[in-house]
C-alpha cells in the first residue's frame, strides 16, 4: 500500500487536474505546440513560472511581469498596478473558479500577454503558464 502511495505522490504534486472542457483546450494547445516544434513533449511548470515571473517592457514601456498585478504568491489577492482593481487569487487551490471557463481563460491570456509581452503568447507559452497556475 505504501508503495502505491509513493507511486501516486509525484503525480499529485505535478499539477491539479483540469475540468473536461479545459483539458480538451489544453490538448488542443499541445497539438499546436507539437506542430510548431516536433520535439515538444508536454507543457512545463518551471518554464511557466519563468514566463509568469520574468519582467518585460510592457505596453506602457515600463518593465512589468504577470506578478506585477497577480503577485508572486498566487494564493493571495492581486491588485492591478495601473487601475488598482483587486484581483481574486489565481491559484485553483484557494479559488475554485480559476481556469474553469475556456472563454475567460482565452480572453485573459490574450489580454495579459499583450499587456506584458506586447504580443500574444504562443501555444507553448500559454500551456506552460496554465500548468504553472494550475500547480498552485
Amino acid at each position: 500500500m505504501k508503495i502505491i502511495m509513493l507511486a501516486i505522490l509525484p503525480l499529485s504534486i505535478f499539477a491539479g487536474s483540469f475540468n473536461a472542457p479545459m483539458q480538451a483546450y489544453i490538448d488542443g494547445l499541445k497539438m499546436e505546440a507539437k506542430k510548431a516544434d516536433s520535439s515538444f513533449v508536454d507543457f512545463d511548470i518551471v518554464r511557466g513560472e519563468k514566463i509568469f515571473t520574468s519582467s518585460h517592457g510592457g505596453k506602457r514601456g515600463e518593465k512589468i511581469s504577470c506578478t506585477s498585478c497577480h503577485m508572486v504568491n498566487l494564493r493571495l489577492k492581486g491588485k492591478h498596478i495601473y487601475t488598482n482593481k483587486i484581483i481574486e487569487p489565481l491559484a485553483p487551490s484557494v479559488n475554485s473558479a480559476t481556469l474553469t471557463v475556456i472563454k475567460d481563460v482565452k480572453k485573459w491570456l490574450r489580454r495579459n500577454f499583450n499587456d506584458v509581452y506586447v504580443r500574444e503568447g504562443t501555444a507553448l507559452e500559454q500551456g506552460d503558464v496554465l500548468y504553472y497556475i494550475n500547480s498552485k
Binding site: K59, R60, T83, K85, K107, R110, R111, N112, N114, D115
Partner: protein, 101 residues
C-alpha cells in the same frame, strides 16, 4: 416642495429629452463591470461608444479586448441605449472623447 420635485423632473425630461436608463444587460455588467463601474451607455453619445469599442485592445492603456461576437453584442447594446438625445451628456462627453482619442 413636494410639487417642485416632480415638476423639476418633468422639466429635466423635457429639456434633456431622456432620463439615463440603468444598465440592464448581463454581459455588459460582466465584461465592463468586472474591471470598473459599468457606466450606463446613456451617459455618453453613440460616437464615443463606437470609437471606444473599436480599440478595446488599448483601453485606457490596457488590453480589454473581447471576442468579436461579444464586442458586437455590447456595441449594439451601447448604441441602442446611448445618450445622444441627452443635452448634458453631449456637453460633458466632448472632453472624454478628446481624452479617449
Amino acid at each position: 416642495m413636494k410639487k417642485i420635485v416632480p415638476f423639476s423632473m418633468l422639466m429635466a425630461t423635457l429639456v434633456f429629452g431622456e432620463v439615463v436608463k440603468p444598465v440592464d444587460n448581463t454581459l455588459y455588467l460582466k465584461e465592463c463591470g468586472s474591471c470598473h463601474f459599468a457606466f450606463s451607455p446613456g451617459l455618453l453619445p453613440k460616437r464615443f461608444w463606437v470609437k471606444m469599442m473599436a480599440k478595446l485592445d488599448n483601453h485606457f492603456g490596457t488590453d480589454a479586448s473581447l471576442d468579436s461576437k461579444d464586442t458586437q453584442t455590447l456595441l449594439s447594446y451601447m448604441v441602442k441605449n446611448s445618450g445622444d438625445k441627452v443635452l448634458i451628456t453631449k456637453i460633458h462627453s466632448q472632453r472624454l472623447i478628446i481624452y479617449a482619442e
